[in-house]
């Protein structure tokens, strides 16, 4: 699996660290109840198909990325830097 880093170009999977589901949105601590926190911490959509996920180019430029990847074919569909405003 090759992931095209926006800064370094296509690099081998071995250079990257997986950081999980990028679709989860951290609840607002001021207002969120236990159910919202429980859903955030433990529940996943776990789709078969396109999946938005966080990867870090840990063995390269160390950028945090949002990668859209097909979990059935392993095809990388889109890569973007994970900026402020992205779900964390």
């Amino acid at each position: 699996m090759l992931i095209p880093c926006p800064y370094c170009g296509p690099r081998d999977l071995a250079e990257y660290t997986y950081q999980g589901d990028a679709t989860r949105a951290r609840p607002d601590p001021a207002t969120a109840g236990q159910a919202a926190w429980n859903a955030y911490v433990y529940e996943r959509a776990n789709p078969a198909g396109p999946h938005r996920e966080h990867w870090q180019h840990a063995g390269g430029c160390r950028a945090h990325l949002v990668v859209t990847r097909d979990t059935v074919s392993h095809a990388v569909l889109a890569v973007a830097p994970a900026r402020a405003g992205e779900p964390s």
Partner: protein, 419 residues
Amino acid sequence: MAEYSALALLKNALGGHRGWKPAWRKPEPKPAYDVVIVGGGGHGLATAYYLAKEHGITNVAVLEKGWLGSGNIGRNTTIVRSNYLLPESIRFYDFSVKLWEELSHALNYNVMFSQRGVLNLAHSPAQADDYMRRGNAMRHGGGDAEWLTPAAIARKVPGLDLSGSARFPVVGGLLQARAGTARHDAVAWGYARAADRRGVDILENCEVTGFLREGGRICGVETSRGTIRAGKVAVAVAGSTSRVMALAGIERLPIESHVLQAFVSEALKPFVDCVVTFGAGHLYMSQSDKGGLVFGGDIDGYNSYAQRGNLPVVEEVMSEMVAMFPSLARVRLLRSWGGVMDMSMDGSPIITTGPLPGLYLNCGWCYGGFKATPASGWTFAWTIARDAPHALNAPFTLDRFQRGALIDEKGQGATPRLH
């Protein structure tokens, strides 16, 4: 029905092996069953068998999308063990080992359960302390565990690099002698035949495409072979859990699907007579009766429904194997493959009523489902028959994530790729 004996073998040999009968029927789906089990893997078939045997519920169908034994029951590295730390896990998996010890007799089918022992190597004093603590917990829970010194390990596993110059010198090992391996295909076939004989219909090439509801209650399934109504629907589909449960409207579960790879080498003469695991990384290896070394390591570590993995894990597993056994460096790999694991948020399984009325769920086996096959089927059958968990699986219900009663053997938290 197929009966296997020395006499039957002789008779069929004389007849050119044209007289063997199928081990289970290939029935057409009935319009309705008392219980429909989705998933014809080890856990689904075991559940059907124990429903019939322990609870007298024989109007049961097992629905398998592909052919019987095509999923993780035929993709694992066949290891059976109960070397856990936490009391809930020790009780559950020790019960499983006890069922394994009687399984060939119970099914009248040789599952080739071989109690050859599982040896966990420790590579630092801290790891040795940790393993001894786990060994003490196992003994306290009624199981068996034994600490081996490097000298004892050298006698037991002659090929290991036990020199002080090894990259990760071995300081000792935890042996569970009652642990071992079983022939995984035979487990599927044995449970299938035994369930079939008690009246269970095994429906292969029967994919669930939807669930039937009546007033909020699940009352059957739509399948590629037609509509099947059911008093109760039980789901045991491992890595496909999220896909199947989404058909029932359950969009989110404490599960991620990950790919785990496994490997078999070319056949060698007898080389290692127990299961050995490498503690400085993650590798587990045994030798099959055909001579091939059967081994695997960590999951690839990213969400995947592909039954194949990537090369970094292959490289890591091979390098760990050669670190342990330098003499294997020139052995060639025969096959490698992948399976989709239902990784749960605490590394422990879920065997539960619900999450909808009429529905029962068995999932979250991470990559330790094979050893649990008998206990999983036994407790899931109990849960389905009595609408409540048995004491053995009461800690493993779905609501433990709400209650904060996690069973996290590795203490990794809600990070499935690390369990």
